[in-house]
Protein backbone atom coordinates (compact mmCIF):
# COMPACT_ATOMS: atom_id res chain seq x y z
CA UNK A 1 0.00 0.00 0.00
CA UNK A 2 3.10 2.23 -0.07
CA UNK A 3 2.62 3.56 3.46
CA UNK A 4 5.18 5.76 5.14
CA UNK A 5 6.10 3.26 7.79
CA UNK A 6 4.51 0.16 9.22
CA UNK A 7 1.33 1.53 10.76
CA UNK A 8 0.86 -0.27 14.06
CA UNK A 9 -2.42 -1.40 15.50
CA UNK A 10 -2.13 1.27 18.19
CA UNK A 11 -2.40 3.93 15.49
CA UNK A 12 -5.40 2.24 13.90
CA UNK A 13 -7.28 1.88 17.17
CA UNK A 14 -6.46 5.44 18.24
CA UNK A 15 -7.76 6.69 14.93
CA UNK A 16 -10.98 4.73 15.20
CA UNK A 17 -11.61 5.79 18.80
CA UNK A 18 -11.05 9.46 18.07
CA UNK A 19 -13.39 9.23 15.09
CA UNK A 20 -16.04 7.61 17.29
CA UNK A 21 -15.64 10.32 19.95
CA UNK A 22 -16.02 13.13 17.42
CA UNK A 23 -19.09 11.50 15.89
CA UNK A 24 -20.81 11.01 19.24
CA UNK A 25 -20.21 14.57 20.40
CA UNK A 26 -21.37 15.98 17.05
CA UNK A 27 -24.52 13.88 17.05
CA UNK A 28 -25.47 14.89 20.59
CA UNK A 29 -24.85 18.59 19.90
CA UNK A 30 -26.85 18.62 16.70
CA UNK A 31 -29.91 16.85 18.09
CA UNK A 32 -30.62 19.63 20.58
CA UNK A 33 -31.36 22.40 18.09
CA UNK A 34 -34.38 24.44 19.32
CA UNK A 35 -37.54 24.05 17.29
CA UNK A 36 -38.29 27.42 15.75
CA UNK A 37 -35.09 29.17 14.80
CA UNK A 38 -35.31 32.43 12.87
CA UNK A 39 -33.64 31.54 9.60
CA UNK A 40 -32.54 34.03 7.01
CA UNK A 41 -33.59 31.73 4.20
CA UNK A 42 -37.31 32.26 4.69
CA UNK A 43 -36.85 36.02 4.59
CA UNK A 44 -34.81 35.76 1.41
CA UNK A 45 -37.39 33.54 -0.23
CA UNK A 46 -40.09 36.15 0.34
CA UNK A 47 -37.75 38.91 -0.87
CA UNK A 48 -36.98 36.88 -3.95
CA UNK A 49 -40.56 37.12 -5.14
CA UNK A 50 -40.02 40.83 -5.76
CA UNK A 51 -37.18 40.22 -8.19
CA UNK A 52 -39.22 38.17 -10.61
CA UNK A 53 -36.76 35.28 -10.90
CA UNK A 54 -37.95 31.68 -10.76
CA UNK A 55 -34.73 30.15 -9.40
CA UNK A 56 -34.05 31.26 -5.85
CA UNK A 57 -30.47 29.98 -5.74
CA UNK A 58 -29.52 32.11 -8.76
CA UNK A 59 -30.87 35.22 -7.05
CA UNK A 60 -28.91 34.45 -3.90
CA UNK A 61 -25.67 33.83 -5.81
CA UNK A 62 -25.88 36.78 -8.20
CA UNK A 63 -27.87 39.45 -6.43
CA UNK A 64 -28.11 39.02 -2.68
CA UNK A 65 -24.52 37.79 -2.34
CA UNK A 66 -23.12 39.15 -5.58
CA UNK A 67 -19.95 40.40 -3.94
CA UNK A 68 -19.00 36.84 -2.95
CA UNK A 69 -19.34 35.81 -6.60
CA UNK A 70 -16.99 38.63 -7.56
CA UNK A 71 -14.46 37.28 -5.07
CA UNK A 72 -14.90 33.75 -6.39
CA UNK A 73 -14.17 34.93 -9.92
CA UNK A 74 -11.06 36.65 -8.60
CA UNK A 75 -9.90 33.36 -7.01
CA UNK A 76 -10.44 31.50 -10.31
CA UNK A 77 -8.52 34.22 -12.13
CA UNK A 78 -5.57 33.92 -9.74
CA UNK A 79 -5.55 30.13 -10.12
CA UNK A 80 -5.56 30.41 -13.93
CA UNK A 81 -2.75 32.98 -13.69
CA UNK A 82 -0.67 30.63 -11.57
CA UNK A 83 -1.22 27.69 -13.91
CA UNK A 84 -0.37 29.82 -16.93
CA UNK A 85 2.86 30.94 -15.28
CA UNK A 86 3.87 27.43 -14.26
CA UNK A 87 3.18 25.47 -17.43
CA UNK A 88 4.08 28.11 -19.94
CA UNK A 89 6.72 26.37 -21.99
CA UNK A 90 5.23 24.39 -24.75
CA UNK A 91 6.56 23.68 -28.19
CA UNK A 92 4.96 22.40 -31.34
CA UNK A 93 5.28 18.66 -31.13
CA UNK A 94 5.82 16.69 -34.26
CA UNK A 95 3.11 14.29 -35.32
CA UNK A 96 3.65 11.36 -33.00
CA UNK A 97 0.57 9.22 -33.10
CA UNK A 98 -2.92 9.57 -34.42
CA UNK A 99 -5.86 8.99 -32.20
CA UNK A 100 -8.54 6.42 -32.85
CA UNK A 101 -10.76 6.65 -35.92
CA UNK A 102 -13.96 6.63 -33.86
CA UNK A 103 -12.62 9.39 -31.61
CA UNK A 104 -11.71 11.60 -34.55
CA UNK A 105 -15.04 11.38 -36.33
CA UNK A 106 -17.26 11.36 -33.26
CA UNK A 107 -15.61 14.34 -31.60
CA UNK A 108 -16.28 16.52 -34.62
CA UNK A 109 -19.91 15.45 -34.41
CA UNK A 110 -20.27 15.89 -30.65
CA UNK A 111 -18.53 19.23 -30.18
CA UNK A 112 -21.34 21.50 -31.49
CA UNK A 113 -23.92 19.59 -29.42
CA UNK A 114 -21.86 20.01 -26.25
CA UNK A 115 -21.35 23.75 -26.88
CA UNK A 116 -25.08 24.15 -27.56
CA UNK A 117 -25.95 22.37 -24.33
CA UNK A 118 -23.49 24.54 -22.40
CA UNK A 119 -24.96 27.74 -23.84
CA UNK A 120 -28.47 26.51 -23.00
CA UNK A 121 -27.56 25.79 -19.38
CA UNK A 122 -25.86 29.19 -19.16
CA UNK A 123 -28.72 31.24 -20.59
CA UNK A 124 -31.57 29.49 -18.74
CA UNK A 125 -29.83 29.83 -15.39
CA UNK A 126 -32.60 31.89 -13.86
CA UNK A 127 -35.43 29.55 -14.86
CA UNK A 128 -34.09 26.07 -14.17
CA UNK A 129 -31.12 24.59 -12.30
CA UNK A 130 -27.90 25.69 -13.92
CA UNK A 131 -26.16 28.96 -14.43
CA UNK A 132 -22.89 30.49 -15.47
CA UNK A 133 -20.43 28.20 -13.73
CA UNK A 134 -22.01 24.98 -14.92
CA UNK A 135 -22.43 26.18 -18.52
CA UNK A 136 -18.90 27.51 -18.75
CA UNK A 137 -17.36 24.27 -17.51
CA UNK A 138 -19.50 22.25 -19.96
CA UNK A 139 -18.12 24.35 -22.84
CA UNK A 140 -14.59 23.81 -21.55
CA UNK A 141 -15.10 20.05 -21.47
CA UNK A 142 -16.18 20.20 -25.12
CA UNK A 143 -12.94 22.01 -25.95
CA UNK A 144 -11.07 19.31 -24.01
CA UNK A 145 -12.66 16.66 -26.23
CA UNK A 146 -11.42 18.41 -29.36
CA UNK A 147 -7.95 18.87 -27.90
CA UNK A 148 -7.41 15.19 -27.17
CA UNK A 149 -8.74 13.94 -30.47
CA UNK A 150 -6.90 16.25 -32.85
CA UNK A 151 -3.18 16.81 -32.65
CA UNK A 152 -3.12 20.06 -34.62
CA UNK A 153 -5.94 21.87 -32.82
CA UNK A 154 -5.02 24.90 -30.75
CA UNK A 155 -7.31 27.24 -28.89
CA UNK A 156 -6.74 30.70 -30.44
CA UNK A 157 -4.99 32.35 -27.53
CA UNK A 158 -5.48 36.03 -28.29
CA UNK A 159 -9.20 35.80 -29.05
CA UNK A 160 -10.02 33.78 -25.95
CA UNK A 161 -8.00 35.92 -23.57
CA UNK A 162 -9.56 39.10 -25.00
CA UNK A 163 -13.01 37.56 -24.44
CA UNK A 164 -12.10 36.71 -20.87
CA UNK A 165 -10.81 40.21 -20.21
CA UNK A 166 -13.95 41.84 -21.53
CA UNK A 167 -16.14 39.54 -19.48
CA UNK A 168 -14.22 40.35 -16.32
CA UNK A 169 -14.32 44.08 -16.96
CA UNK A 170 -18.05 44.10 -17.75
CA UNK A 171 -18.90 42.44 -14.43
CA UNK A 172 -17.38 45.35 -12.51
CA UNK A 173 -18.85 47.80 -15.04
CA UNK A 174 -22.37 46.49 -14.41
CA UNK A 175 -21.82 46.96 -10.71
CA UNK A 176 -20.56 50.53 -11.18
CA UNK A 177 -23.52 51.43 -13.40
CA UNK A 178 -25.76 50.17 -10.60
CA UNK A 179 -23.85 52.43 -8.22
CA UNK A 180 -24.43 55.44 -10.46
CA UNK A 181 -28.11 54.81 -11.17
CA UNK A 182 -29.65 53.58 -7.93
CA UNK A 183 -26.87 54.04 -5.33
CA UNK A 184 -26.24 50.30 -4.88
CA UNK A 185 -23.16 48.48 -6.13
CA UNK A 186 -24.52 45.56 -8.19
CA UNK A 187 -28.08 46.79 -7.73
CA UNK A 188 -30.88 45.79 -10.03
CA UNK A 189 -31.38 48.77 -12.33
CA UNK A 190 -33.16 47.12 -15.25
CA UNK A 191 -36.93 46.62 -15.04
CA UNK A 192 -37.94 43.43 -13.29
CA UNK A 193 -41.70 42.92 -13.16
CA UNK A 194 -43.19 40.16 -11.12
CA UNK A 195 -45.67 39.43 -13.89
CA UNK A 196 -42.86 38.19 -16.12
CA UNK A 197 -41.67 35.42 -13.81
CA UNK A 198 -40.84 32.40 -15.95
CA UNK A 199 -40.08 34.30 -19.13
CA UNK A 200 -36.64 34.46 -20.68
CA UNK A 201 -36.29 38.23 -20.36
CA UNK A 202 -37.02 38.72 -16.68
CA UNK A 203 -35.20 39.56 -13.53
CA UNK A 204 -33.29 42.66 -14.60
CA UNK A 205 -29.52 42.28 -14.59
CA UNK A 206 -29.48 38.75 -13.15
CA UNK A 207 -29.35 36.74 -16.41
CA UNK A 208 -26.92 39.30 -17.84
CA UNK A 209 -24.47 38.92 -14.98
CA UNK A 210 -24.67 35.14 -15.07
CA UNK A 211 -23.93 35.08 -18.82
CA UNK A 212 -20.88 37.26 -18.26
CA UNK A 213 -19.71 34.92 -15.48
CA UNK A 214 -20.23 31.92 -17.74
CA UNK A 215 -18.16 33.40 -20.57
CA UNK A 216 -15.31 34.18 -18.19
CA UNK A 217 -15.29 30.76 -16.51
CA UNK A 218 -15.55 28.90 -19.85
CA UNK A 219 -12.65 30.70 -21.47
CA UNK A 220 -10.48 30.35 -18.36
CA UNK A 221 -11.02 26.62 -18.07
CA UNK A 222 -10.29 26.17 -21.81
CA UNK A 223 -6.94 27.89 -21.42
CA UNK A 224 -6.10 25.87 -18.29
CA UNK A 225 -6.86 22.61 -20.10
CA UNK A 226 -4.81 23.63 -23.10
CA UNK A 227 -1.80 24.43 -20.91
CA UNK A 228 -1.95 21.01 -19.32
CA UNK A 229 -2.17 19.10 -22.59
CA UNK A 230 0.38 20.98 -24.60
CA UNK A 231 3.11 21.04 -21.97
CA UNK A 232 6.14 19.82 -23.80
CA UNK A 233 7.92 16.80 -22.41
CA UNK A 234 11.40 17.11 -23.76
CA UNK A 235 12.88 18.24 -20.48
Amino acid sequence: MNLKRDVSTRTYSGFALSALLVLTILNVLLQNVPEKVERAGEKLLTLNAQEGVANAVTTVVVFFRGFDTLGEIAVLFIAALGIGLMLSSYSIKEHKEESNFILQKASKLLFPIIVLFGVYVMIYGHLSPGGGFQGGVIIASGVLLLLISDQNFEVPHSIISTLETFAGISYVLIGLIGLLVIDNFLGNFLPHDISEMGMLLSGGIIPLVYIVVGIKVGSEMSLIVQHMIKRSDDD
Binding site: M1, N2, L3, K4, V7, F15, A19, V22, L23, L26, N27, L30, Q31, R39, A40, G41, E42, L44, L45, T46, N48, A49, A54, N55, A56, V57, T59, V60, V61, R65, D68, T69, E72, V75, L76, A79, A80, G82, I83, M86, L87, S128, P129, F133, M197, G198, V217, I224, H227, M228, R231, D233, D235
Partner: protein, 130 residues
Amino acid sequence: MIETFLTYLNQDSTITAIVNICSMTLFFIGLFGLLTHRHILRIFISISIMEIAIFLFFIGNTFNKAFTAPLLGDGHTEFIAMNDPIPHAMILTAIVIGMAVFALGVSFAIEYYKLTGKTDINDMNEMGEL
Protein backbone atom coordinates in the same frame (compact mmCIF):
# COMPACT_ATOMS: atom_id res chain seq x y z
CA MET B 1 -41.54 -5.93 10.50
CA ILE B 2 -40.22 -4.23 7.38
CA GLU B 3 -42.92 -1.54 7.72
CA THR B 4 -41.75 -0.55 11.20
CA PHE B 5 -38.14 -0.50 10.03
CA LEU B 6 -38.96 1.80 7.13
CA THR B 7 -41.03 4.09 9.34
CA TYR B 8 -38.18 4.20 11.87
CA LEU B 9 -35.78 5.19 9.10
CA ASN B 10 -38.06 7.97 7.87
CA GLN B 11 -38.05 10.00 11.09
CA ASP B 12 -36.25 13.33 11.15
CA SER B 13 -33.88 12.48 13.98
CA THR B 14 -32.80 9.25 12.32
CA ILE B 15 -32.05 10.98 9.03
CA THR B 16 -29.98 13.60 10.85
CA ALA B 17 -28.05 10.89 12.69
CA ILE B 18 -27.40 8.95 9.47
CA VAL B 19 -26.14 12.06 7.66
CA ASN B 20 -23.85 13.10 10.53
CA ILE B 21 -22.29 9.72 11.15
CA CYS B 22 -21.80 8.73 7.51
CA SER B 23 -20.39 12.04 6.30
CA MET B 24 -17.96 12.19 9.20
CA THR B 25 -16.91 8.61 8.41
CA LEU B 26 -16.18 9.72 4.84
CA PHE B 27 -14.17 12.64 6.25
CA PHE B 28 -12.08 10.31 8.35
CA ILE B 29 -11.47 7.97 5.42
CA GLY B 30 -10.10 10.93 3.49
CA LEU B 31 -8.00 11.95 6.50
CA PHE B 32 -6.58 8.45 6.73
CA GLY B 33 -5.60 8.61 3.06
CA LEU B 34 -4.02 12.03 3.58
CA LEU B 35 -1.82 10.89 6.45
CA THR B 36 -0.56 7.58 5.12
CA HIS B 37 0.25 8.10 1.44
CA ARG B 38 3.56 9.19 0.04
CA HIS B 39 2.82 10.06 -3.60
CA ILE B 40 1.84 13.69 -3.84
CA LEU B 41 -1.08 13.22 -6.23
CA ARG B 42 -2.79 10.76 -3.90
CA ILE B 43 -2.67 13.41 -1.18
CA PHE B 44 -4.62 15.80 -3.43
CA ILE B 45 -7.28 13.17 -4.10
CA SER B 46 -7.68 12.52 -0.36
CA ILE B 47 -8.15 16.26 0.24
CA SER B 48 -10.90 16.25 -2.41
CA ILE B 49 -12.65 13.34 -0.67
CA MET B 50 -12.61 15.33 2.58
CA GLU B 51 -14.16 18.32 0.80
CA ILE B 52 -17.00 16.17 -0.59
CA ALA B 53 -17.71 14.90 2.93
CA ILE B 54 -18.05 18.45 4.24
CA PHE B 55 -20.44 19.41 1.45
CA LEU B 56 -22.66 16.41 2.21
CA PHE B 57 -22.60 17.25 5.93
CA PHE B 58 -23.62 20.83 5.28
CA ILE B 59 -26.52 20.18 2.94
CA GLY B 60 -27.71 17.14 4.84
CA ASN B 61 -28.15 19.12 8.03
CA THR B 62 -30.28 21.83 6.42
CA PHE B 63 -32.55 19.33 4.68
CA ASN B 64 -36.20 19.24 5.58
CA LYS B 65 -38.10 16.23 4.32
CA ALA B 66 -41.45 17.98 3.99
CA PHE B 67 -40.19 20.87 1.88
CA THR B 68 -39.25 20.93 -1.77
CA ALA B 69 -36.46 22.33 -3.95
CA PRO B 70 -36.02 26.14 -3.92
CA LEU B 71 -37.20 26.88 -7.43
CA LEU B 72 -40.55 27.27 -9.15
CA GLY B 73 -41.35 24.30 -11.27
CA ASP B 74 -44.32 22.25 -12.31
CA GLY B 75 -47.25 23.30 -10.20
CA HIS B 76 -45.53 25.60 -7.71
CA THR B 77 -46.36 29.27 -8.08
CA GLU B 78 -45.43 30.62 -4.65
CA PHE B 79 -42.22 30.68 -2.69
CA ILE B 80 -43.55 28.91 0.38
CA ALA B 81 -42.56 25.58 1.94
CA MET B 82 -39.17 25.47 0.23
CA ASN B 83 -35.75 24.48 1.45
CA ASP B 84 -33.14 27.05 2.36
CA PRO B 85 -31.35 28.52 -0.70
CA ILE B 86 -28.46 30.11 1.20
CA PRO B 87 -26.46 26.91 1.97
CA HIS B 88 -26.85 25.86 -1.68
CA ALA B 89 -25.26 29.09 -2.85
CA MET B 90 -22.38 28.77 -0.39
CA ILE B 91 -21.65 25.17 -1.40
CA LEU B 92 -21.68 26.19 -5.09
CA THR B 93 -18.91 28.69 -4.40
CA ALA B 94 -16.99 26.15 -2.34
CA ILE B 95 -17.10 23.49 -5.08
CA VAL B 96 -15.70 25.88 -7.69
CA ILE B 97 -12.91 27.11 -5.42
CA GLY B 98 -12.01 23.52 -4.50
CA MET B 99 -11.59 22.71 -8.18
CA ALA B 100 -9.40 25.78 -8.75
CA VAL B 101 -7.07 24.89 -5.88
CA PHE B 102 -6.88 21.26 -7.04
CA ALA B 103 -5.88 22.32 -10.58
CA LEU B 104 -3.23 24.70 -9.24
CA GLY B 105 -1.78 22.02 -6.96
CA VAL B 106 -1.61 19.49 -9.80
CA SER B 107 0.23 22.00 -12.00
CA PHE B 108 2.77 22.62 -9.21
CA ALA B 109 3.31 18.88 -8.93
CA ILE B 110 3.84 18.55 -12.69
CA GLU B 111 6.41 21.34 -12.75
CA TYR B 112 8.30 19.94 -9.75
CA TYR B 113 8.40 16.51 -11.37
CA LYS B 114 9.78 18.01 -14.60
CA LEU B 115 12.45 19.84 -12.63
CA THR B 116 13.71 17.14 -10.27
CA GLY B 117 11.91 13.91 -11.08
CA LYS B 118 10.65 13.17 -7.58
CA THR B 119 7.10 12.41 -6.50
CA ASP B 120 7.74 10.99 -3.04
CA ILE B 121 7.23 13.53 -0.29
CA ASN B 122 9.93 11.97 1.88
CA ASP B 123 12.54 12.79 -0.78
CA MET B 124 11.58 16.45 -1.17
CA ASN B 125 14.17 17.85 1.24
CA GLU B 126 15.66 20.83 -0.54
CA MET B 127 15.07 22.95 2.54
CA GLY B 128 17.12 20.75 4.80
CA GLU B 129 16.56 17.45 6.50
CA LEU B 130 13.54 17.36 8.85
